[in-house]
């Protein structure tokens, strides 16, 4: 339950944060949410990764569909990954997911879940 809640919160707050802050707000959100909802390291990483991977990949895919793939095709060629908007949307998701996942993992080590269970 906590796992899904943290995915949902990270995704939601990353989206809102992204409107007002630079891109790295995703790392801050991932870190804080796991501090507040402590989890095992693997679960923390996964919740951060999945939340922002989905957020970024879905946002990118939606924009790309509306754009008819015009720009993502050109940027794909520019970055040397070929004229494939889908690949570019996935790479976008992986980069965002990786940063958030690592931030979440750091938080998990800072405040291990097991200890919390014992003290509360």
């Amino acid at each position: 339950m906590k796992f899904f809640l943290s995915i949902l919160l990270i995704a939601l707050l990353s989206y809102i944060g992204g409107i007002y802050f630079p891109w790295w707000i995703i790392a801050v959100v991932g870190f804080i949410i796991i501090l507040l909802l402590p989890q095992r390291p693997s679960a923390a990483f996964l919740s951060g990764f999945i939340a922002v991977f989905l957020l970024w990949a879905v946002l990118a895919a939606r924009i790309n569909t509306a754009n008819g793939g015009i720009l993502a095709g050109r940027i794909g060629l520019l970055l040397g990954i070929g004229k494939s908007p889908v690949t570019l949307a996935l790479i976008t998701g992986v980069i965002g997911g990786l940063v958030t996942g690592l931030a979440a993992l750091s938080a998990a080590y800072l405040r291990p879940a097991a200890k919390i269970y014992l003290t509360s």
């Binding site: 992204g18 970024w56 015009i70 050109r74 970055l79 940063v99 080590y109």
Partner: protein, 816 residues
Amino acid sequence: MRIIPFLITATITVGLTVLLSRPLGDKIPMPVGNFLSPQSGFWQNAEDTSATFNGDLSFPELKGKVQVYFDARLVPHVFAENDEDLYFVQGYLHAKFRLFQMDLQTKAAEGRVSEIAGPKAINYDREQRRLGMKYAAENSLEVMEKDSKARAIYTAYTAGVNAYIHSLKVKDLPLEYKILNFAPEEWTNLRTALLLKMMAKMLASGTEKDLALTRLHTVFTTDQLNALYPQVPDSLKPIVPPGTAFEKPALNLKVPAGADTAYFKEPHKITAFEEYTPDADNGSNNWVVAGSKTASKAPILCNDPHLELSLPSIWYEMQLSTPQSKVYGATLPGSPYVIIGFNDSIAWGVTNAQRDVKDYYSIRFRDNTRSSYWFNNGWKPAQQRIEAIKVKGQSTVYDTVSYTVFGPVMYDASFRDTLTNNNGLAVKWMAHHTGDDGSAFYFLNRAKNYDDYLNAIKSFECPGQNFAFASKSGTIALWQQGKFPARWENQGQYVMPGTDSSYDWQGYIPQTENPHAVNPERGYLFSANQRPADAAYPYFIPGAYITPRARAIDWYLSQSNNITTQTMMDLQNNYYNITARDMVPMLIRYTDPEKLTPEAQKYFEIVKGWDLFAGPASLGQTIYQCWMDSLSTGIWQDEIDKTGYKAELPAEETLMELLKKDSTVMGFVDNINAPEQQTIHDVVTDALNKTAVVMAQAEKEGRLQWAKFKGVTIYHLLKDALLPFARTGLNVGGWGNIINAVKKSHGPSWRMIVQLSSPTEAYGVYPGGQSGNPGSRFYDNAVDTWASGQYYPLWLMNAGERGDARVKWTLNFSKG
């Protein structure tokens, strides 16, 4: 708490975030994290293909309301209540659709590319600054801001650009800023002046060959040089119809005492060279036909300026209207006004005058501080301007430029002149001291008849242009307009002595004596960068003239009657190679078929059967052009190499003209490096054999067809750095000496045809799109229309037509 794993993962997280927040080198100049973020990065520039452009905006700078009606091609039809609001909105729209290009072009003009591109641009920046580009812009600005009406317009335009810049959030930045990781800079009136100086450099700087001719002069005599680079070609069809009488010149020019030896016999030894020269094919076509030659009995005006083709295009299409005036045409992002266009009464178009308005003077400095120089029998202090060139990723580079009575010392011991210690070359250039050249367009936009047109253009100074004109009342005219030095014969062909004022320009050709023609009996006028008048013109007017296109236009127009707009479209897209018409019979005559290789024989047959049209699928054109290039090299290169300088070879049409008169081409046919004597037969045959090797390779690769061989490409402004943003492999024929002057990535940057009937019938197209955003469907939507020789109807909208089906979106501006 698990401190070790925490420290490790936290370090990795922070490290990765920092890594993704900064440029990763030349290949990946963008901060990847920001660039990929769908909320702030490049995805934000991917415009919805069903996006609308409606909106309501308010700005305190406005005095009243302004409506902008966009048509289906995103061409804005602007309706303002007064001039200032009109140009505010023009500035706003230019910035909204073309900000990066305006920013880049004016930074380049000022010599500030190193700020964006790093150390590799330092030489470019130094050259721009030493040419005095900013100095020239500052001088113009002073005049532009002296007149209160002009100042109000330029200031309103600037405010419009800045209103858009200030409205931008990081996520809205044009894509190129996100890729190159910098931010747009505020607009100023100076930047508008800089943009106009960029045009001056493009069109009135590369029109001299002084440094090259000075080098060549060490090997060739003045007579030889005048034959190789002739001022009045035999095949010239000038702007002013031949036979026109010219008035006796108002000026009496004195050749300096001793010029016979000091200037003509003892060439200066120089090592200086210009590295970033404008394209020699920058030029254009325009022509007007009178009602006597058209089916509708109304005049038709046509214009296609040939420039570097780029995405976004140099042009942005607009209509600008107030209750007093209404004009439509091509505008230049970075400047107010319509530059080429029409209104309800007249139409006008421009081509480049190609006149030489730039000279070099040899300066002798007192010592290596270069703070004083010998002039009129004494040491005269030189003003020094310290140029600070900021360089991305490196410390600022300083360059001191000395200014003399002639102008800035472009070349000296610190810049490309290693031979001459304590000497320098000062550059005197018309663009350094001009008035408000833009104002000519303000008045042209509002001209109602010939007198208005003449009044509008007569203060225009640089870059000299051929202004074609047609009016609804039936007048056609063509003026070559600019401010041009009055020179004695051969003045300024070579570097001149600068130790006194004797070699300085002695005056300017009076404006009324500029070459022009109005309502000629033959019923048509044309200009295509040819010399404006024949040898009867009473001044020495050197320039980088291009002869063949004007010849072809004259040939077609002279035999056309009942001309329609369709006839004119066909002519703008015409591929006839008029130089080849004269040249091919000579090539055939001088070829020894028995000395040709089997491959060469095959290509020889293709040229013999060629229809002389340089269409996209033509094989004959490919072979002919390569054969001519090889022949030119065979004839000229051995002699020119003696100067140790990479000079431009004499033009193709010059070779054609000389060969018609003399099969030894003044003796140049013989190869001076070979022991035995060569004849024209040997050189022509040898050139085809060499060409055949290249052709066989091209044929093997499937690119013998002319369009494939040329590889027509329209690059993004940043060229190879953004190659995926280019349009490649366009199926277009033509060449620089053909009416449809498409080269590899250079050619007709705007085609316009206006029939001054009631109602006006106008057509136009440019190879690009209204939006500069590579993520927009309007980025390159007109490229295929242009490539296939088609046009869009141009709509000069009336204020009452806001309900017309052609209006797709409305953007309202108001005070607030």
